[in-house]
């Protein structure tokens, strides 16, 4: 009986001492963690794509709370969660413009002229170092899909040797931009629906020889709607504040089909018919 009592007393005493010790250390060495960091981490997409420039979603959340990082740097966050995060921080949600990536090329294997049969590593950067792959055009998409493999959201499709970004899947993280050896990919506001899908700085006739779908700077579009286009040398770009509609594009009827709507460009069989 006494043995049991002694055992119980020792255990109780030990528990008490350890309890006090734990309590003390918890107070003394407490790490101040803002509960909001965890909440915000939960609300972020969790893809750890790195598009915001931080080491991942958790790191970004910490930076938001502690160093007042800009929430809108996260392009993948949904509108709803974005508002919730703003609420947690007690800030105005503000206007956040969604951005998507666009590959400025429409020269797939049918349209772009073949220079040679490329045989080697299935990697755009490696091909670029080696005569630039199989297409004649030195500015266009090599089409070996380095960007598609880099994309965490599966938004880039390689169709017939051409990278096509599906804007509904694209989160605008911008990871694909650096990997493209031709610097063809740019982030644009998700609202812009019309682009000139060509990036070649060659002279018109050279371009025409190299690719059926090149912008040959005929300026048909510029003459039709002067405000919405911006011609630089042999390349025309749609201005950012243009409000072109699909109908106008159809009326302009770009002769090579380089001027196209996002919907038509990404549609499943646009490659075969050319522009509307």
């Amino acid at each position: 009986m006494t043995n049991i009592l002694i055992a119980a007393a020792v255990l109780a005493l030990l528990g008490l001492v350890l309890g006090i010790l734990i309590g003390y250390t918890a107070k003394r060495f407490a790490v101040e963690a803002d509960p909001r960091i965890e909440e915000i981490t939960e609300l972020l997409p969790g893809a750890n794509c790195g598009g915001c420039g931080y080491a991942g979603c958790a790191d970004f959340a910490k930076e938001i709370v502690e160093n007042d990082a800009n929430i809108s740097s996260c392009s993948a966050c949904s509108e709803e969660n974005f508002k919730k995060i703003a609420e947690i921080l007690g800030k105005e949600a503000g206007n956040r413009e969604k951005q998507v990536a666009v590959v400025y090329c429409s020269g797939d294997n049918h349209k772009a002229k073949r220079l040679a049969r490329y045989n080697g590593l299935n990697d755009c950067r490696a091909a670029a170092a080696l005569s630039g792959g199989g297409k004649t055009c030195r500015f266009g998409c090599i089409g070996l899909g380095s960007c598609a493999r880099r994309c965490q959201f599966g938004a880039i499709e390689i169709r017939n040797g051409l990278a096509i970004v599906h804007p509904e899947l694209c989160e605008g993280c911008g990871n694909c931009i650096d990997i493209c050896p031709r610097k063809l990919i740019r982030l644009v506001p998700a609202t812009s629906k019309i682009h000139v899908y060509c990036n070649s700085l060659e002279k018109g006739p050279v371009k025409r020889k190299a690719c059926e779908a090149a912008c040959i700077a005929c300026k048909k579009c510029v003459r039709a709607v002067p405000d919405s286009f911006n011609a630089q040398g042999f390349l025309v770009r749609v201005t950012e504040d243009s409000n072109l509609t699909e109908e106008t594009i159809r009326e302009i009827a770009c002769p090579t089909g380089a001027l196209d709507t996002v919907a038509h460009h990404t549609a499943a069989n646009s490659g075969k018919e050319g522009a509307a």
Partner: protein, 447 residues
């Protein structure tokens, strides 16, 4: 003297001997081709700074006239291959695919020499600065393939002690026989060139390494070299890449160039036999470098052989001189099949480092399949740099360039052996090129 003789291993660890097909072009004499209407001269034909063009469209030039000045110390001038007028300055596909600036020279048919540089038949009496200046003025670069300006190689920094001039007559690349023919037909120039280099470097010991499959070249040079007992001619085992700088130095002197080091660290300067002939011509006859010997070969070519081609000769004209084609071509290569560059068009032109124009038939070209690595170790056994190729190839495939760097990918010669022997058809060399480019880019960024 005896105990001071270096050991000659005559070979190196690793290497392979692919079927060399040298019989296709080794037999006939070096031929001349008729003057062309037009030459397309690539402006930058040397490693280092690009030369600066000093003529404009419409100017008349004479053969051998300097049309571009050296753009810096590591740069050489460029000379007109014939007399005529300057045509367009245009972009043509370069040897490694990227477009390069080129200048057209429209021949006037007279092929008239400009006033030559003073020849120094008695060059032994001239001082070395003068000779070095001549090498530079004649636009001479390493004609084995690297195109590094020769005068820069011949002026090592004073703290480096140079004691041996290593002459590369190995010509280990399959198919090519240009150096072989050159040594057989111009042995005198090769030896003179070597002696001039030795004089410039202020040394006397010269070793010439020639692979054993060129017995004629060895015999002729041995006979001619009797006049100078400091010239040693050493037959080397037939093994690719015997002509690799580090391998050659090891085989001839037993010295190992440290990873990342240069031949001058172990007291050697390496020159190709073609370069030596160019040096001899420039010094003894005052002729600048405007032509070189090129092997035009391959089974699809009708009349294979070696040709004196002027710089700027388009490949299609060279092919015409070799009788044209007799069967379909799968690949056109400038250089040898192991390290040369595949071309996409016949518009490319001969430059100072073009040692061969090789046409391969469709069935001779083995395509890459990139199967899984079996770790069979063939590449590891064959690598002349003793790299762990199988591991490297796998880490590069997974884009782990940090691990590639740890595994010494930067030591890779890109000799192509690992890809040649790979039963799984993996494009190892391309992997390593990519890795090296990424690592160098990262280093530049971090600086």
């Amino acid at each position: 003297m005896k105990n001071n003789m270096p050991i000659h291993p005559k070979h190196f660890e690793g290497g392979i001997h692919p079927a060399d097909h040298k019989e296709l072009s080794a037999a006939g004499l070096i031929r001349n081709i008729p003057l062309l209407d037009k030459y397309t001269l690539v402006i930058q034909q040397n490693i280092g700074a690009p030369p600066k063009l000093n003529v404009q469209k419409g100017d008349t030039v004479l053969k051998g006239q300097k049309i571009a000045d050296a753009g810096g110390f590591v740069s050489v001038p460029l000379h007109a291959p014939t007399s005529g007028t300057i045509g367009e300055i245009l972009e043509i596909p370069g040897a490694n695919g990227a477009p390069v600036q080129a200048v057209e020279i429209i021949s006037d048919g007279k092929d008239e020499w400009c006033e030559p540089m003073t020849p120094y038949p008695n060059w032994r009496d001239q001082n070395r600065e003068l000779l070095l200046e001549r090498v530079r003025e004649a636009g001479i670069v390493g004609m084995g393939g690297a195109a590094f300006p020769t005068h820069a190689k011949l002026s090592p920094p004073p703290e480096k002690i140079i004691d041996t001039l290593v002459i590369n007559g190995a010509e280990c690349e399959p198919y090519l026989t240009a150096d072989d023919r050159l040594m057989r037909e111009y042995p005198e120039q090769v030896l003179t060139g070597a002696e001039i280099c030795a004089k410039i470097l202020r040394i006397s010991h010269i070793v010439i390494g020639i692979e054993e499959n060129k017995p004629d070249a060895i015999n002729i040079l041995r006979r001619k070299a009797k006049r100078n007992r400091n010239i040693q001619i050493i037959p080397l085992h037939v093994r690719y890449p015997q002509g690799g700088e580090k391998q050659l130095i090891y085989a001839l002197t037993g010295r190992k160039v440290v990873a990342g080091g240069l031949p001058m660290d172990v007291g050697c300067v390496v020159q190709n036999v073609g370069t030596l002939k160019a040096i001899a011509d420039a010094v003894t006859e005052g002729r600048p470098l405007i032509e070189r010997i090129v092997t035009v070969t391959g089974t699809p070519v009708k009349d294979t052989g070696n040709f004196h081609l002027r710089l700027g000769t388009p490949v299609e004209k060279a092919l015409e001189a070799a009788g044209g084609l007799q069967s379909p071509v799968g690949k056109l290569i400038l250089g040898g099949p192991m390290m040369g560059f595949a071309q996409s068009s016949l518009k490319v032109s001969v430059s100072k480092n073009t040692s061969g124009i090789l046409f391969l038939a469709n069935d001779e070209v083995r395509q890459f399949e990139a199967g899984p690595c079996l770790s069979c170790g063939r590449c590891v056994d064959a690598c002349p740099m003793r790299l762990l190729v199988s591991t490297l190839s796998k880490v590069c495939e997974n884009e782990r360039y940090d691990l590639a760097e740890e595994n010494y990918v930067l030591s890779c010669l890109e000799c192509g052996i690992c890809t040649y022997v790979c039963p799984a058809g993996r494009p190892n060399v391309q992997h390593f090129r990519r890795a090296k480019a990424e690592i160098n880019e990262k280093r530049r960024k971090n600086k």
